[in-house]
Symmetry: C3
């Protein structure tokens, strides 16, 4: 795939997660502008940073390339300035999170392929990239991360990454395949949210012993 197309998708994902993280900060806790933008940037840049640790591609691209930093900071600032106008902030947060998840699952997997990793590793790194930033966000604001509590969160990331890796194996790589894979991930995630779908729960009822 053209490097430019991959970069564009990655930056769109960064922007979506920066808006998402900053809006989450506005909704959840009483944070000032620095806290809001910081949480936006950590959400936006965290997944790619963890990805580059796993791929031994340090220093992380999220930190070396000013475009990621600029897009993440801009997303945080825009959310800070406009978030109070949003009537349905929770819905917006969910859509942005699904968008970031989808784009990062795909771009993370493609970066692994480009660096010569095998298909299984590429799928796993894609999923880690997708869920990484949101997991850092949730830990910092003391919520149980979505990747644990929401059945259809890791699964769509794995599916999206798998679609794009299989397309690559079939020589069908390109912007179209990448966008299609991200759309598949996004659709599964949003359907899961819309219909409250969870993966199966443990057999034998919910166990809740005192710790």
């Amino acid at each position: 795939m053209a490097t430019t197309a991959l970069l564009v998708l990655d930056l769109v994902g960064t922007f979506a997660f920066a808006l998402n993280g900053a809006l989450t900060a506005l909704r959840t806790t009483r944070l000032d502008i620095v806290g809001v933008i910081t949480l936006g940037m950590i959400t936006a840049l965290g997944g790619g940073t963890i990805r580059d640790v796993f791929l031994d591609a340090l220093p992380p691209a999220t930190f070396l390339d000013w475009r990621y930093l600029a897009v993440a900071a801009a997303g945080g600032l825009i959310a800070f300035l406009t978030g109070h106008h949003l009537d349905r902030i929770n819905g917006t947060i969910t859509v942005l999170d699904a968008a970031g998840l989808s784009l990062f699952a795909v771009t993370g997997a493609l970066k692994a392929v480009d660096l010569g990793f095998g298909p299984a590793q590429a799928v796993i790194v894609g999923a880690i990239t997708g869920v990484g930033g949101g997991t850092l966000r949730d830990v910092l604001i003391r919520q149980v991360p979505s990747v644990l509590s929401s059945g259809l969160y890791a699964v769509p990331a794995l599916v999206g990454a798998t679609v794009v890796v299989v397309a690559d194996l079939l020589d069908a790589r390109g912007p179209v395949a990448a966008v299609a894979a991200a759309a598949v991930c996004f659709a599964i995630r949003m359907l899961g949210v819309r219909f409250g779908v969870d993966a199966p729960f443990p057999p034998g009822g919910r166990r809740r012993e005192p710790g």
Copy 2:
């Protein structure tokens, strides 16, 4: 030590931590199958991933080698399917955690030795490997990590790593020394749990000022 023996011990530790993390997820929070297996895999693979960051051995072996991924996923799945049959889930969780702690303290220290690090660094990396996965687990489910709250948690890991590093310095390296060192760590940890042993508390009484 034969590489095979080290690999076997490392995989057994991975399996113990995967069971432990998944059972903790079953006990603590209402997670579906994906959340349970995810927490099992993070617990199982987290310590080795942090170890490889400290040893500059990226990409992490836990991620490159499919055996770690397979064992971790299998452990999480088995715990998900069978956890509700366990009468004494808390006791099982404690034993599995001590087993993972012990094996990873030893294999982590040996990996550092193999890569040419000095004895002090090997002991520290061993302890970090042992406590790392459980610490990630506790942060994700919002508990104070055992390494902070339980006096005899870091100490047995340090002792086990020290035993195996000293054995290596004395040319007594081998599977026997490794298993013996892990057994020492396991015994100290379980005795601490059994008798509620803690390390000394601060002099002057427990201080609890409002933050």
Copy 3:
């Protein structure tokens, strides 16, 4: 700047953060000596470890160089033994945190410059180094990190790092510039604490929807 001067400032910052982390452990939760020293060491060594991941300078200096380990352990032990004598433990914690923040912002930025990174990257790494250890500390004891909740926490770190990087660009590098930059950071941070200064809050009032 002379390498020795940089090392001294880095070790002073390590010591300040070790005292701070251990005193925080004494104040916040019921931890024994191992827990107190562990939290002190994580606070003291965490920022430099994250810095070295971002700078691709692994294995981390905090782990390879015994002086960092010794200073961090000593700081934790001293705080454990003497913390109960402190009348104003909260004030002491705040001052030590500001000192560590200031010194690490400066030394982190200088390390990035020495490794050939550009000015923007050096400033960012300096800020990350300054806030990193305290953020790990707060996550482990389940508090919202200062970098999110306190307006003037990231800002003074960015200012201190900028001052020392600009001085370097102007060929005015040296111990004097480093100490002056740290003093600027420290002064801004302490003024912010003293007068309860925050950065601007979101327009339109504080939003607090149920999650």
